[in-house]
Symmetry: C2
Subunit: 327 residues, 2 copies
C-alpha cells in the first residue's frame, strides 16, 4: 500500500530577474482561491479561529493562555497555528537543484497564522491596547523561535485586512512566513540602505526621520519611541510607515516600553485610517533585517501600512513603479 | 486675472530603493478612481471611444482612417488619442531638483490611448486578424514617432482588460506611456540579461526559447515567428509570454510577416484564455529595450500576458515575490 504522498512546494528562480517564485499547488485547494466560491461565511460556529473550534486548526505552535490550560483547548487569548494551506512546508531540507538552465529548490519554510484575539468580530484597532501589545509580543516571540532554525534566512510578518487585501477569513489575524532566502524586495532595500551608508556614513532611515520630524509636513503622529509618517515616494494613497526613533536593525530586540508605544501607533493609525477611508481594506508588512545579520548600522526595521484603494494594472506590472493620485 | 494654473505631475524617487513614483493628483479626478463611483456605463452614446464621439477625447495624435477623412471625425478604424487623465504631461522640461535629501523631477511624458476598433462591444481577440495587425502597427508607429523626442527614455505599451485589471472604460483599448527614465523593472531585466550574456555570451531569452521548444512541456503554441509559452517562474496562474523566435531587442524593427504571426498569437492566446478562464480580466505589457539603445545582443523584446485571478497581498508587497498555486 502506498503511504500518503508528501506534498512539497517548489521554489523556482526567474532566470532573468533572479526573483524566486513559490509554486504552491496545495494552496489551489483553498476554498477562497480564484474567487469562484462565495464569500467566507462570517459564522462563529464555523470559524476555525474562534474559541471552542481549536481542533479546526493544525495544532498550535504557541499561545498566550491562562496558566494550567492545555494546548488546543479554551483558555487562550492569542494563538499561533500553522497555516492550513501553507505556501511553504516546514519539514524537509532545501536541496537546490537545476532543471536545464533553470534553478529550483524545495519550498521549505514556515507559514503561521497569529490569531490576534478571541472576539470574532473585533478588528485589530478595536482591541484593547494590551491586546495589541500582545500581538506585537507574538510577532517577536515567533521571530526569536524561528531564528534558531538554520534553514531560514528571512521572516516576513504581515497582515491582510479585508477581502480585497487578500484576507480569506474575517476573524482578525496576522501571518508570518519564514523563508529559506532573503526576498528580492528586502535585498534591494538592504543594498540601497548600504549604498547610502557607504556614501554618507549615516543610516538613510535615520536621515529620513530627521528630515521628516524637522519639516513636520509628512508626519502623521509620533510618540517617545516611534514616528508615523507618509513616505515621500509613496506607492499608494495614504501609505504610512511606522518607524522606531532609535536606530535598530532587528525588530526582535524591541524593548517593553517600545512595544507599548508601537501598540499605541498601530492602534492609532489603523483607527484613523478606518475613519478617513471608511474601513478600506489594507495590508501591512514588518520589514526586519535578515536573520543571519545583526546590529547593522545601515538598516532600520519598520512597518509599512498600505490601504487598498487603487488597482495595480498593466503599467505597474510593466515598470515596477507606481502612479499615486495623492500628493 | 489669473491664467489657468498649469498642472504638472511630480516624479519622486524613493531614497532607499531608487524607485521612481508618479504623483499624479490630476488622476484623482477620474470618475472611476477609488472605486467610489458606480461601474462605468457601457453606453455607446456616452462612450468617448465610439464613432461619432470623437470630440469627447483630446485631439487625436494618429489614426488609421479612410483617405480624405479629417482628423477627429468619422472614417477611422483605429485611433490614438492622449489620455484625458494623463499620469504624465507632454509639455515642459524635466528639471531635476532636490527636496532636502529627496530627489524629484517634473512628470514629463506621454500617455496615449489606442482605441483598437470602432465596435463598442468587441474585445481584442474577437476582432478580425487584420484589425489585430493594425493594433500592432499602431504600437509600432507610435513608438517610432515618440522615439524622436529626446526627453523620453522608455516607452511602455500595455493593455488592461476588465475592471479588476484596471480598465475604466469597456470599449477595447490599449495604452502607451513614454517615460523620462528607464523603469526599475526594465532596468532589472536588462541587468539580469546582460549578466547572463557576459557569463555565457548567449541571450538568456534565446536560451529559454531553445530549452522550451526542446522540452515542449511549457509551450502553448508556436508559429514561424513566435513562441507562446508559460514561463518557468510564473508569478501568476496562466501567465503567458509571447516572444519572437529571431533575436531582436527592438520591437519597432518588427517586419510585416512578423506582425501577421504576432497577431495570430495574440488573438489565439487571448481567445483560449477567455475560454479556459471564463473571460477573466487580464493585463498584458510589451517589454521593449530602452529608446537610447539599439541592437542589443542580450535583450529580446516580448509580451507578458497576466490574467488577474489571484490577489496580491501583504506577502507579495513585503517580499516582491509571488505565490503561484498552479504548477
Amino acid at each position: 500500500m502506498l503511504t500518503e504522498e508528501v506534498y512539497m512546494p517548489d521554489l523556482r528562480k526567474d532566470p532573468i530577474l533572479g526573483r524566486w517564485i513559490i509554486i504552491a499547488t496545495e494552496r489551489a485547494k483553498r476554498p477562497s482561491d480564484f474567487g469562484t466560491e462565495p464569500q467566507e461565511k462570517s459564522d462563529e460556529k464555523l470559524c476555525p479561529f474562534c474559541v471552542g473550534n481549536e481542533k479546526k486548526t493544525p495544532p498550535e505552535v504557541m499561545a498566550y493562555r491562562e496558566p494550567g490550560t492545555k494546548p488546543d483547548t479554551k483558555g487562550w487569548w492569542l494563538r499561533v497555528v500553522p497555516n492550513k494551506f501553507p505556501a511553504l512546508e516546514v519539514e524537509g531540507d532545501l536541496s537546490r537543484t537545476g532543471e536545464g538552465m533553470y534553478d529550483k529548490m524545495n519550498g521549505i519554510g514556515a507559514h503561521e497564522v497569529i490569531i490576534e484575539n478571541t472576539d470574532h468580530n473585533k478588528t485589530l484597532p478595536e482591541l484593547e491596547r494590551k491586546n495589541v501589545e500582545d500581538v506585537i509580543w507574538a510577532y517577536r516571540d515567533r521571530t526569536v523561535d524561528l531564528k534558531r532554525d538554520a534553514r531560514f534566512e528571512y521572516i516576513l510578518i504581515f497582515k491582510n485586512q479585508g477581502k480585497a487585501a487578500g484576507a480569506s477569513l474575517t476573524h482578525s489575524h496576522s501571518q508570518l512566513i519564514a523563508l529559506p532566502i532573503v526576498p528580492k524586495r528586502v535585498k534591494e532595500e538592504m543594498v540601497g540602505a548600504q549604498n547610502y551608508y557607504e556614501n554618507k556614513e549615516r543610516c538613510v532611515f535615520c536621515d529620513i526621520i530627521r528630515q521628516e520630524t524637522k519639516s513636520v509636513a509628512r508626519i502623521i503622529t509620533e510618540n517617545e519611541d516611534f514616528v508615523v509618517f507618509a513616505p515621500y515616494a509613496s506607492r499608494f494613497p495614504f501609505e504610512t510607515w511606522i518607524i522606531p526613533k532609535k536606530h535598530d536593525s532587528a525588530f526582535e530586540d524591541i524593548q517593553k516600553h517600545e512595544v507599548i508605544h508601537l501598540a499605541c501607533c498601530l492602534k492609532g493609525i489603523l483607527t484613523r485610517m478606518n475613519k478617513v477611508l471608511n474601513y478600506a481594506p489594507y495590508n501591512y508588512i514588518l520589514h526586519n533585517s535578515p536573520l543571519t545579520t545583526s546590529h547593522l548600522p545601515y538598516y532600520h526595521w519598520h512597518i509599512e501600512v498600505m490601504p487598498v484603494l487603487t488597482r495595480v494594472a498593466g503599467f505597474e506590472w510593466g515598470t515596477g513603479f507606481y502612479i499615486n493620485p495623492t500628493p
